[in-house]
Symmetry: C2
Subunit: 242 residues, 2 copies
């Protein structure tokens, strides 16, 4: 099956979580908005959002075209791909658990984004710097330890060994955990230096995913967009721990 991914072409953003699953699966896919020419680029993406030629338009990117299906919402796409490419458990309990973890990461991701945009996504960071400072302080003090502590506990409790979040085999949730730790390292290097000692299982999982051959090859390729200050993870030194 060939896939077509639609996501903003200049940031990792939420599209990155889909890219990494496609890469780990060894799937053939086009990253349509990053291509040029007829039927490609941002114009092609906008055609779906505007609802032209589609009965069930997605609310926002990323969305994935898979045959006749057009699937929106990151966690929904990952659940779909996980089942098709053995990146999720096959039994009902394992499937539900993997998706639950993914949705908790989706919640964390909103909170990460809102550290620099607590007032409005469509205002500049410069217009909400004061609020961003307040929100980031609370995030690093209370929310980030709560989330990372949770995932650390999940890894520690797993009776199937603590290599992966949902058992002995890698799932899409592990790939997303990798991306979140990578992004946090970029955005909050000082805070994460301290966190590395506390959440050693989470940090080890990041390293384990990073070394998987397909992920390593992807990260070294031009397909991986570098972190930058237009995405979800942004490095503003004034928002990092003191």
């Amino acid at each position: 099956m060939d896939y077509q991914l639609y996501y903003w072409p200049t940031i990792q953003g939420r599209g990155e979580f889909v890219r990494q699953v496609l890469e780990e699966a060894g799937a053939r896919y086009r990253d349509v908005a990053r291509e040029t020419g007829k039927g490609a680029g941002v114009a092609a993406l906008m055609g779906f959002l505007n609802g032209r030629n589609i009965e069930r338009p997605p609310f926002a990117p990323p969305f994935l075209k898979a045959g006749k299906l057009v699937i929106g919402q990151t966690a929904n796409i990952l659940q779909f791909l996980g089942a098709r490419h053995s990146l999720a458990p096959k039994n009902e309990g394992g499937r539900l658990w993997t998706h639950e973890l993914q949705l908790t990461m989706a919640d964390l991701l909103v909170e990460i984004h809102d550290t620099h945009h607590p007032v409005a996504a469509d205002l500049y960071y410069e217009d909400q710097k004061k609020e961003a400072r307040r929100r980031s302080t609370d995030f690093l003090k209370h929310r980030l330890p709560k989330f990372l502590g949770y995932f650390e506990q999940v890894l520690a409790k797993s009776s199937r060994g603590e290599n992966y979040l949902a058992g002995m085999r890698v799932t899409y949730a592990d790939l997303s955990m990798f991306q979140i730790v990578a992004g946090l390292n970029y955005a909050f290097p000082r805070a994460m230096a301290g966190a590395a000692r506390k959440y050693r299982r989470v940090v080890a999982l990041h390293g384990r995913v990073q070394e998987r051959p397909r992920i390593a090859a992807y990260l070294a390729s031009p397909r991986r967009i570098p972190f930058n200050d237009e995405g979800i993870f942004r490095h503003y030194a004034e928002l990092d721990a003191g």
Copy 2:
């Protein structure tokens, strides 16, 4: 199958989305944290969150016990119940679409919550009133019309008739749409008075769900916790439209 729902006992919150699906399904369930006695109350809920006696602890309520399964994350629970109780389409495209809509509503719900808590969920509203005012203004001007306009378009585009979001039969996504409109009416009555004329299909869906016999009976029962200013939807007149 008997279910046990775990959620904070004094607010509708995210637990309400699960309650309404259980009610519409005519399922037998206990609302454990609202009961008293051994193995009930908030203490029982906390036992799961603390990770005692459970290998896969949820991050936060609501979570649902169904036989041996303990399922967390609202949209995950709804997907599970939807499949079991014919409150979601059976075909793959319909299932994915219903879940996609639900996840978009989950995104909207975070934004609704953050109108009164833009800085930190664990600070009082009074300590972030100024920021809340800024965020609410942007929310009502830009974000709410974007979301409601989207769902209006979804209903308008459906070639299967515009009675329900995902086709001709009610799904868990329709129940959640009802709850969101009900909550918005409570929180932002002035803004919603204007919106009612613009998003007539969404408002009609709210009315259609409200009149379903099981939902109507539930809403009139003591099982329905009234809206109050501890939940996601809060009425602060100063945050509503002018």
